[in-house]
């Protein structure tokens, strides 16, 4: 859905957004100001993404989360007040989120994301899914991407994290290329008046189109096929780790928890064997010590993944054309 943008930018916005307008320009800021984003999951990563989008100045951000605040979520997140135990996570995050930037329409929705009808998602320019099951993410991706709604996914598992972006089959973008200036040799170069210097940063915009693969395709790569084999060295460990953790999430309905470390780590090791075997790849691709680094959400990892994810959404959550070229890129900041 395309909302008509306000042509005028207020004095207040100009003053507050000054430093970012100087970076990405006024037009980009206006486009941002017309975009509505859905954010699912208000854990550590969700809070970071929420902060980044609200500070950037989107038109509206909907916080969707059915989970309740636990001691763990208080520890991991900076939007939830310490006395909010038992409240809904989205609801508890709302006030502080709104304070970050009163010019953004922030709202909380306490429903379960899986229970939302299709047309709910179509109201947004971009959706960002965290703490979601594999099946749900695939469903939303298949629903939204063909309708030019940008789909983003991300999670943080301990020291590990990833982000995914599907910008559709025909994502149009513009690339800035330096302008080639032809030097003309003037044979009559006498004591001519020197012309005022031309701005050396002249560039020209080139239109391009890119095609992104869907989440389903990305997660269902056939590793036993010939072509895939040659790319093994370049695939980060994080990809296989993600497969294991998504399976854990589907089977247990939650992520590994420090409280049940013994039981969960045992399960994870078993799943590692099962998942990698089913994919037809060597178990050595995911060393077993991953279990001690994938529990809970590391705050600095949420900050890094949330920062990159947030910036992608800011760049792309526009009703239309512009954006720099981006690929799906599993991330793994961590001990390596």
């Amino acid at each position: 859905m395309v909302e008509k943008e306000d042509a005028i930018i207020s004095e207040e916005e100009a003053a507050q957004y000054d430093r970012q307008i100087r970076l990405w320009g006024l037009d980009a800021q206006k486009r941002l100001r017309g975009s509505r984003v859905l954010l699912v999951g208000l854990g550590g990563l969700g809070a970071e993404v929420a902060k980044n989008l609200i500070l950037a100045g989107v038109k509206g951000l909907t916080l969707l989360d059915h989970e309740l605040v636990t001691e763990e979520s208080c520890r991991a997140q900076f939007l939830i007040p310490v006395d909010a135990l038992g409240q809904n996570r989205a609801q508890a995050s709302l006030e502080r989120a709104q304070f970050l930037n009163p010019m953004v329409e922030v709202e909380a929705d306490t429903d379960k994301a899986e229970d939302k009808p299709d047309d709910f998602f179509l109201k947004f320019n971009a959706v960002c899914l965290t703490h979601c099951s594999r099946d749900f993410m695939v469903r939303v991706d298949q629903l939204c991407a063909p309708k030019n709604i940008k789909v983003f996914c991300g999670d943080v598992f301990g020291y590990h994290g990833y982000m995914f972006a599907d910008l559709g089959q025909e994502h149009q973008y513009v690339e800035e290329k330096p302008k080639v200036v032809k030097q003309s040799e003037d044979a009559n170069d006498g004591p001519e008046a020197k012309k005022p210097k031309v701005d050396p940063n002249e560039t020209t915009m080139v239109k391009k189109t890119a095609s992104f693969c869907s989440l389903k395709e990305a997660l269902e790569v056939d590793w036993m096929g010939g072509k895939a084999k040659t790319n093994f060295k370049n695939i980060p460990v994080g990809y296989f780790l993600l497969q294991v953790l998504l399976k854990f999430r589907t089977d247990k309905g939650r992520d590994p928890q420090p409280d049940s470390y013994t039981e969960d780590s045992g399960l994870l090791l078993q799943m590692r064997e099962d998942v990698l075997e089913a994919m037809g790849v060597s178990i050595d691709l995911l060393p077993p010590n991953f279990v001690s680094y994938c529990f809970s959400e590391m705050s600095p990892v949420c900050a890094v993944v949330g920062g990159v994810l947030g910036q992608e959404i800011v760049k792309l959550a526009r009703a239309c054309r512009m954006g720099t070229r981006r690929r799906r890129r599993p991330k793994q900041p961590g001990p390596s």
Binding site: A7, I8, I9, A14, Q16, Y17, D18, R19, Q20, R22, L23, L26, K30, E48, K51, N52, L55, A56, E72, A76, F78, L79, P81, V82, F99, N101, P102, Y159, P191, A193, K194, P196, K197, N234, P258, Y261, T262, S292, Y293, F295, S296, E297, M298, S299, P300, V301, C302, A303, V304, G306, G307, V308, G310, Q311, T324, R327, R329, K331, P333, P335
Partner: protein
């Protein structure tokens, strides 16, 4: 059996919650860093920042809200953090880290120091304090989409000053005063003009035509005539610009005509300058007003285009009006403050910014350059570096990840990390890079640091040695200097007043000559530097001194900083388009020797 406290193994979680850390700066990186630290489990944090909150900070410094504008950053940051983590024990200092209260002993209290700064002077200082205290330092910087994190550990890695960093670009005096060819030259001129009229007058910031311009090259007889004329003509040199302006009551019309008509006409008489350049075109106030009345420009009409008010370019008439208004406002501000008052230029002070916008644009017009909007001029004059929340968020996250390695004793796993705008050919957005060992010849962290400085002992004042060389170039805060002459003759004492009498004397007055050695100490930084003096009669154009071994000046434009090895130094390095280490006009003509004696030195000839 592995025990976890949240995502961390118990041993690490325990060190994290018990150790003390120092965060220097509570701005873009600082806010994100404080948040990450407490959420990771750090409990004893001290944060220091001398600044107060501005509305332009709110797009990224998320611990601050509109209601906090004007308050101390460190203080408000602490209050906001404590709200979501009441267990955190945070001490906030609204102060400069260069204050001697923060001694080496102060630094020794911490397991780790993390910089979140925006200027080189403070970075140099903290670097030295951490070397002296032998505490690991995590250094970082951001600009736009780019960022960088690195570790500094004495004896193990390079210190912040091991590799020479490009000094701030400066422009020769005659370019600013006589032959500007780019908008930046006009903007620098306008800022100098502000100081000459309303602020602290600086001999290195002259705005009037430079009759000693070597390019002008008059023959000796004419030079003599001009020299005597200029001595008698109060307008050019002898009377200060401020005194002259005051004598006219800061009359905007008189000021306008002097700067944009009379002075330009004088420049035109220096005809050699205009043989290969387009000559400037003088403006006259009353003519301009007549034209202005006939031209229709409507700010309202332009605004319907939906742009920012500041991004519009007014016509030359509009800027003449702006000039007049801002002069009136500033002169009355000055009058209000009483005798001897001085205004300090601030990009966020509207009349000060208006003045520079107007003056710079009028000069650009005179020199046939396309005029610029207030928005663009503010960027250049104020050295604004664009900034967003996400870059700072990523960098602050990386800082904590490195901090955890340091606390675990895994320094060998630490590295420098660059954040790029686009993924590189290997599809990496974050690029790690091995840490370099210390530079054995580093003038800061080597065991007995030494430098050689080329200067003219007969024309370099003690004041210059202290301010331009030891403080500005070599980052000392409070230097003590003695001559290595067997007697330990004291040149400069850091105690106020003790050696003030020496300030305007020359080095040669103390017997310093080619080959002399000076010992410079900064006791706060626990830093001793041996300076070898190399005398030279012939320094480069506009150079007061030269550090032997330095690369020639390069212009470090923050916006083009790619994956270089430089941490983005921030905008505060060039709050004034400074004359910095290479000085301005410091050949003999600067001292009027040749003019008084009616001869030309070998440089000017």
């Amino acid at each position: 059996m592995v025990q976890l406290v949240g995502p961390l193994r118990k041993e690490l979680a325990d060190s994290v919650s018990s150790c003390r850390v120092l965060v220097v700066g509570a701005g873009g990186i600082g806010c994100e860093l404080l948040k990450n630290l407490v959420l990771t489990g750090f409990r004893n944090i001290e944060v220091i920042d001398l600044d107060t909150i501005d509305v332009s900070n709110l797009n990224r410094q998320f611990l601050f809200q509109k209601k906090h504008v004007g308050k101390s950053k460190a203080q408000v940051a602490k209050e906001s953090v404590v709200q979501f983590c009441p267990k955190a024990n945070i001490t906030a200092y609204h102060d400069s880290i260069m204050n001697p209260d923060y001694s080496v002993e102060f630094f020794r209290n911490f397991a780790l120091v993390m910089n979140a700064l925006d200027n080189r002077a403070a970075r140099n200082h903290v670097n030295r304090m951490c070397l002296a205290a032998d505490i690991p330092l995590i250094e970082s910087g951001t600009a736009g989409y780019l960022g960088q994190v690195t570790i500094i550990k004495k004896g193990l890695t390079e210190c912040y000053e091991c590799q020479p960093k490009p000094t701030q670009k400066t422009f020769p005096g005659c370019t600013i005063r006589n032959t500007p060819s780019e908008p930046i030259h006009c903007i620098v001129w306008a800022k100098y003009l502000f100081n000459q009229l309303f602020g602290e007058e600086d001999a290195d910031q002259e705005v009037s035509p430079d009759t000693a311009d070597p390019e002008a090259a008059w023959d000796p007889s004419e030079a003599a005539a001009r020299a005597t004329a200029s001595e008698q003509d109060g307008d050019i040199k002898r009377v200060s610009t401020k005194d002259w302006a005051r004598s006219t009551g800061y009359d905007p019309v008189k000021l306008f005509n002097k700067l944009f008509k009379d002075d330009i006409m004088y420049l035109l008489t220096m005809d050699k300058l205009w043989r290969k350049r387009k000559a400037p075109l003088p403006l006259e106030w009353s003519e301009l007003q007549k034209q202005g009345e006939h031209s229709h420009f409507s700010l309202v009409e332009e605004m319907l285009g939906g742009g920012l008010k500041d991004q519009h370019v007014l016509g030359v008439y509009g800027y003449s009006q702006l000039f007049s208004e801002s002069v009136k406002t500033l002169s009355s501000q000055l009058a209000e403050r009483g005798a001897g008052a001085e205004l300090v230029w601030d990009k966020d002070d509207p009349p000060a910014m208006d003045f520079v916008t107007a003056a710079a644009n009028l000069r650009m017009h005179v020199f046939s350059m396309n005029m610029k909007s207030r928005f663009d001029i503010k960027s250049m004059a104020g050295n604004i570096i664009p900034a967003i929340a996400t870059t700072n968020a990523v960098i602050a996250g990386l800082i904590v990840l490195e901090a955890l390695k340091v606390l675990s004793g895994d320094l060998d796993q630490c590295c420098t990390i660059f954040l790029n705008k686009q993924p590189n050919p290997k599809k990496k957005l974050l690029v790690p890079c091995a840490l370099d060992p210390p530079n054995l010849n580093c003038y800061v962290c080597a065991s007995k640091p030494e430098v050689t400085v080329r200067l003219n002992v007969s024309s370099t004042m003690i004041q210059t040695l202290q301010d331009k060389i030891l403080k500005e170039r070599f980052g000392m805060v409070a230097p003590d200097v003695q001559i290595e002459d067997g007697k330990g003759t004291i040149l400069i004492s850091s105690e106020e007043g003790e050696t003030e009498g020496n300030n305007s004397k020359f080095l040669s007055d103390f017997g310093i000559r080619n080959g002399s050695r000076l010992q410079a100490d900064d006791f706060l930084q626990d830093y001793t530097l041996l300076v070898n003096v190399l005398h030279s009669d012939e320094l480069g154009k506009d150079m007061e001194f030269e550090v032997v071994g330095d690369a020639p000046d390069k212009a470090p434009t923050p916006s083009t900083q790619e994956e270089g090895k430089n941490i983005t130094n921030g905008n505060k390095d060039s709050a004034q388009p400074s004359t910095s280490s290479t000085g301005n006009n410091m050949h003999c003509c600067r001292n009027n020797l040749c003019r008084l004696n009616s001869w030309r030195c070998s440089v000017c000839k």
